[in-house]
C-alpha cells in the first residue's frame, strides 16, 4: 500500500529561534509560573500590610546594597542583550565573550545579594513582616542562583561541549531568563524598600 503523500518536509531545519521553537514556549511557561509565584508573594506582603496599621513591623530595610543590586541588574541588560543578539546571529566568538561577561555579572550580583541580606533589619521569625520580607528576597535569590548556574554551564559548554546550531537558541533562552530575573526584581525592590517608606510619608 502506497501512502498518499501531500507534502515533503525534508528540507526543514532542526533548530529555530524564538516562538518557532518548542523550547522557547517551555521557558515561557515556566517564567509565567514563577512570575505568578512572585505576584502571589507580593500580594501576600500587601495583604499582611493591610492587616497591620503600623507597617513595617520594625525598622525599614537598608537601601545601599539593594539599590546597588538594582543598578547592577539594570546595567546587566546591556551585555545580556548583546549576548542574545550574538546567539541569534550564530556568532560563536561573541557568544563566548557574552557568556563570560554574564557569568561575571551573575557572580557579582550574588555577592551584593549576600550583603543585602545583612541589612534587612528584621529576622524571618520576628514577625509576619519579617517573614514576608525574607520570603520575597529568598524567592528572588533562588532564581538568581538558578540562572547564574545555568549561565556558568552554558559558558562552559560554549568552550568544551559538543557544539551544534541548537546551542544558540538555548543561549537565547538563557538570556531571556535573565531578562525575567531582572524584570521580576523591579516590583520586588519597590515593594520591599520603597512602598513602606512612601506609605510612611517619605519623599521620593
Amino acid at each position: 500500500m502506497k501512502p498518499h503523500l501531500t507534502l515533503d518536509i525534508r528540507a526543514l531545519p532542526s533548530y529555530r529561534f524564538g516562538h518557532r521553537s518548542p523550547l522557547w514556549w517551555g521557558t515561557l511557561g515556566f517564567i509565567v509560573i514563577e512570575g505568578l509565584g512572585f505576584i502571589f508573594a507580593i500580594a501576600a506582603y500587601f495583604y499582611l500590610q493591610n492587616q497591620n496599621p503600623d507597617w513595617p513591623l520594625g525598622r525599614h530595610p537598608g537601601l545601599l546594597w539593594s539599590s546597588l543590586f538594582t543598578v547592577l541588574l539594570l546595567l546587566s541588560e546591556i551585555p545580556n542583550t548583546w549576548t542574545k543578539r550574538a546567539a541569534v546571529a550564530l556568532d560563536l566568538g561573541r557568544v563566548r565573550v557574552g557568556l563570560m561577561m554574564m557569568s561575571a555579572v551573575a557572580l557579582l550580583a550574588i555577592v551584593i545579594r549576600v550583603a543585602e541580606f545583612t541589612t534587612l533589619n528584621v529576622w524571618w521569625d520576628s514577625n509576619a513582616y519579617g517573614s514576608a520580607l525574607w520570603v520575597l528576597l529568598g524567592l528572588h535569590t533562588a532564581h538568581l542562583l538558578t540562572d547564574a548556574f545555568e549561565t556558568f554551564v552554558m559558558a562552559a559548554l560554549a568552550y568544551i561541549g559538543p557544539l551544534d546550531a541548537r546551542r544558540f537558541p538555548e543561549v537565547e533562552d538563557n538570556q531571556a531568563y535573565w531578562d525575567f530575573v531582572v524584570l521580576a526584581w523591579i516590583p520586588i525592590y519597590i515593594t520591599m524598600y520603597w512602598a513602606p517608606r512612601w506609605a510612611a510619608g517619605a519623599v521620593l
Binding site: L7, L12, P13, S14, R20, G26, G29, V32, G161, R166
Partner: protein
C-alpha cells in the same frame, strides 16, 4: 507556506521516511525508537503512552485506597453512636479520603489521560519535553507513597483536605501530620505544573500539519484550557503550603495573628487554587464526554465553536469564584455579592455545553453502547451537583448550609458525577486503543447500575441530612438526632458505589488476561488515534498524518494523507506553527535516559528531609544541580562540525 529554510547542519543526504517502503520503514522506526531492555529500560522510558499509563494506574490505585477509607467512614456512620473508629482516627480517615481523592487521584488521573491521549489525537509521536514528563511521574509517585506511609505510621494529615490554620499550624497541628499535607502539595503540584507546560507546548507546537486550532478535537481543547488553569492557579497553593511549612518549621508568622500574620491568608491562597481545581478535574471530562457523545450519535459535535468558547469561559470564570468558599468568614458584603454573582454566572457555559450534547444526540443516530450509558449517568448526577452549586452560590443560603452535609453531597455529585462517570465512560471507550482488548459488557452494565443507584442514594441522602442539620466531619451522632435512616441509606449507597469499583477492577484485570483482538477502530470513531493499531507502536504514527477536517476518519475514506521527510535513523518529530499548524521544523527527540528518575529521587529526598529541617534544601541543591547537568547535557549530533556554523544559517 513560507519557503523552508536550508539547515546549516547538512543532513539532506540522509534517507528519509518516504524513501523506503512502508514495511521496511516500520522496522527502522521500531529499531530507532526501541527502549533499553528490562527494568532499566522501564526506568529510562520517556514514551508518553508508557508514562501516561503509569499515571493512570497509580491514580486508580489511589482511588481504590481512598475509596476503601470512604467505605470505612460509612461503616462508622451507618448507625448512631458507633465507636469503630475513634475521633482521631476518623479525622485522619476523612482527611486522607479527601486529600488523596483530590490531589493524588483526580488531578493526576486527568493528567495521565491527557499525557496518553493528546499526542495521539493531534497526530504527534511524542509529548513535548518527554524527559520532564517522566520526571513528573516519579515525583508524583513518591509523593503518594509518602502520604500513605504516613497514614500507616499513624501520622497522616488530620485537618481536613483544605487544612486550615490555626488547626494545621504549629500551635494546634501536632507531630508531622500537617507537614505531610503541605509537602504532599509540593510533590503533586511540581508534577502537575510540569505536565501542564508539556501539554500546552504539545498542543501549540506538535499538531499534525493541517490541524489548525479550529480543527482540534474537543478533548485537546479541554486539555489546553485545563493546562492553562493549572499554570495560573497552582503557584498560589504552592506558595500557601510553603508558608505553612515555614510557619511550622522555622517559626515564620504568616498565619499567626499574634505576630501580625493572618489565618485567612491561607484560605485565599488555597481557594484561589482549589476552586479552579474543580475545573481542572471537570473540563477534561467535558472533552472526553464530547468524543463519546459524538461517536455514538454518529455525527460531528453540534456547536463546536460554542463548546470551545464555553471551555475557555469556564476556565476564565473559574478564577473569579474562590471567595464563595469563604462566605462565612465575615468578608465585606460587597465582595460577597460579587462572588455570588460570578458563581452563578459559571452555570451558563456549563449549561451551554450540556445543551450542545443534547442537540448532538437529538440530531444524530444514537447507538446506545455501554460508554453512552455512563454519559447518561454523568448528565443526571452532574446536573444535580451543578444545580446544588448554583443554590450554594446564594450568600444567605450558604451561611445556613456552611459545614453541613450539603457540602460533601454537592462536591460528590459534582466530582463523582461530573468527573468520575465520564472517566469510566472514557475507560470503556479508549481501553481497546490502550490495550488491544475490549472490556466485558455485561459486567460493565452491572457496574453501571450499582454506580448510578449507589451514587444517587448516597449523595441524595447526604443532601437531606445536611438540610436536617447534620454537620460534616462528625465521627459519630446520637440516636436522638433522628438521622439514623438517612445515614443508613447513604452508607448502603456508598457501599454499592464501592462494589461497582470492585467489579470495575475485576473487569479490567480479567480483560487484561485475555488475548488482544480489538480492531483499530471498534466504535467507528472519527479521531486520528483510531487510525493506529491497538495498542499503538512506540512511535505512534509511521508517517505524520495530514489533517483537513475536524473528523478526519469520517471525512477521508481510505488511508489518511500523510506528510513525509522525517529521518528514521534518529528520533525526530515534526514541529508546526501555533495557529495554522504549518510544518516549520524537524525537532530531534531526546534519547531515553535514567536521569529524570534519578533527578526525581534526589528531589524527593530533599522535599522529605526538608519536613524535618531547613538545611537539606541548601545541601541538596548541589547533587540536584549535578543531576540536572547530566540530564540536560547535549549529545553530539550526527554531522555538524562547529566550523560549519555560520550566520548564513538563520535566514528565516
Amino acid at each position: 507556506m513560507s519557503p523552508p529554510d536550508i539547515e546549516v547542519v547538512d543532513d539532506q543526504h540522509v534517507p528519509r521516511d518516504v524513501d523506503v517502503p512502508l514495511e521496511r520503514l516500520r522496522d527502522h522506526l521500531d529499531n530507532t525508537w526501541r527502549l533499553p531492555p528490562g527494568l532499566f529500560g522501564w526506568l529510562c522510558s520517556i514514551d508518553h503512552k508508557s508514562i501516561g499509563r503509569r499515571y493512570i494506574v497509580t491514580a486508580f490505585i489511589h482511588l481504590l485506597l481512598a475509596g476503601a477509607l470512604a467505605m470505612a467512614l460509612r461503616v462508622q456512620l451507618a448507625f448512631p453512636e458507633q465507636q469503630i473508629l475513634g475521633p482521631d482516627q476518623y479525622n485522619q480517615f476523612f482527611t486522607m479520603h479527601g486529600t488523596v481523592m483530590m490531589f493524588l487521584f483526580a488531578v493526576p488521573m486527568v493528567e495521565g489521560v491527557m499525557i496518553y491521549l493528546v499526542p495521539l489525537m493531534i497526530g504527534s509521536r511524542i509529548i513535548a519535553f518527554p524527559r520532564l514528563n517522566a520526571f513528573s511521574y516519579y515525583v508524583y509517585l513518591v509523593g503518594g507513597l509518602m502520604v500513605w506511609a504516613s497514614f500507616f505510621l499513624n501520622s497522616a494529615p488530620d485537618a481536613g483536605w483544605f487544612s486550615y490554620p490555626p488547626l494545621a499550624g504549629p500551635e494546634y497541628g501536632a507531630g508531622k501530620r500537617s507537614d505531610v499535607f503541605a509537602q504532599m502539595i509540593t510533590f503533586t503540584e511540581v508534577a502537575a505544573l510540569a505536565v501542564a507546560v508539556e501539554i500546552i507546548v504539545t498542543v501549540l507546537k506538535l499538531r499534525a500539519p493541517g490541524m489548525s486550532l479550529d480543527r482540534m478535537p474537543i478533548f485537546v481543547w479541554s486539555s489546553l484550557v485545563t493546562s492553562f488553569i493549572i499554570v495560573f492557579s497552582m503557584p498560589s497553593v504552592v506558595l500557601g503550603s510553603t508558608f505553612l511549612l515555614l510557619d511550622r518549621l522555622v517559626g515564620t508568622h504568616f498565619y499567626n495573628p499574634a505576630e501580625g500574620g493572618d489565618v485567612l491568608l491561607w484560605q485565599h491562597l488555597f481557594w484561589y487554587f482549589a476552586h479552579p481545581e474543580v475545573y481542572i478535574i471537570f473540563l477534561p471530562s467535558i472533552g472526553l464526554a464530547s468524543h463519546v457523545v459524538e461517536t455514538f450519535s454518529r455525527r460531528p459535535m453540534f456547536g463546536y465553536p460554542a463548546v470551545v468558547l464555553a471551555l475557555i469561559s469556564n476556565g476564565l470564570l473559574s478564577f473569579g469564584l474562590w471567595v464563595h468558599h469563604m462566605f462565612a468568614t465575615g468578608l465585606p458584603r460587597l465582595g460577597n455579592s460579587f462572588f455570588a454573582a460570578s458563581s452563578m454566572t459559571i452555570a451558563i457555559p456549563s449549561g451551554l455545553v450540556l445543551f450542545c450534547w443534547l442537540a448532538t444526540i437529538a440530531s444524530g443516530r444514537l447507538r446506545f453502547k455501554l460508554p453512552m450509558l455512563w454519559i447518561v449517568s454523568f448528565f443526571i448526577l452532574f446536573v444535580m451537583g451543578g444545580l446544588s452549586g448554583v443554590m450554594l452560590a446564594s450568600v444567605p443560603l450558604d451561611l445556613q448550609l456552611t459545614d453541613t452535609y450539603v457540602l460533601p453531597s454537592h462536591i460528590h455529585f459534582v466530582l463523582i458525577g461530573g468527573a468520575v462517570a465520564p472517566l469510566v465512560a472514557a475507560t470503556f471507550f479508549w481501553f481497546p486503543k490502550m490495550t488491544g482488548r475490549l472490556l466485558n459488557v455485561p459486567l460493565g452494565l452491572v457496574q453501571w447500575m450499582l454506580f448510578t443507584i449507589g451514587g444517587l442514594s448516597a449523595f441524595g441522602s447526604m443532601f437531606l441530612l445536611g438540610l436536617s442539620g447534620m454537620t460534616r466531619r462528625v465521627y459519630s451522632y446520637p440516636h436522638t438526632m433522628q438521622w439514623d435512616t438517612l445515614n443508613l441509606i447513604a452508607s448502603v449507597g456508598a457501599w454499592l458505589l464501592g462494589l461497582s469499583f470492585v467489579l470495575f477492577t475485576i473487569n479490567i484485570l480479567w480483560t487484561l488476561s485475555r488475548p488482544t483482538k480489538a480492531p483499530e477502530n471498534p466504535w467507528q470513531a472519527s479521531g486520528l488515534e483510531w487510525s493506529l493499531p491497538s495498542p499503538p507502536p512506540i512511535y505512534n504514527f509511521v508517517l505524520a498524518p495530514f489533517v483537513s477536517s475536524r473528523t478526519p476518519l469520517w471525512d477521508s475514506p481510505g488511508p489518511l494523507p500523510v506528510v513525509g521527510g522525517l529521518r528514521f535513523d534518529r528520533r525526530e518529530v515534526l514541529v508546526t506553527t501555533v495557529v495554522e499548524a504549518e510544518p516549520d521544523m524537524r525537532d530531534p527527540v531526546p534519547e531515553p535516559t535514567v536521569w529524570p528518575f534519578i533527578a526525581a529521587m534526589v528531589t524527593s529526598v530533599i522535599l522529605i528531609a526538608s519536613m524535618y529541617a531547613p538545611q537539606p534544601v541548601a545541601w541538596g541543591a548541589i547533587p540536584f544541580a549535578i543531576v540536572m547537568v547530566a540530564w540536560l547535557y547535549p549529545r553530539r549530533m550526527v554531522s555538524p562540525p562547529a566550523a560549519s556554523v555560520g550566520p548564513q544559517a538563520h535566514q528565516a
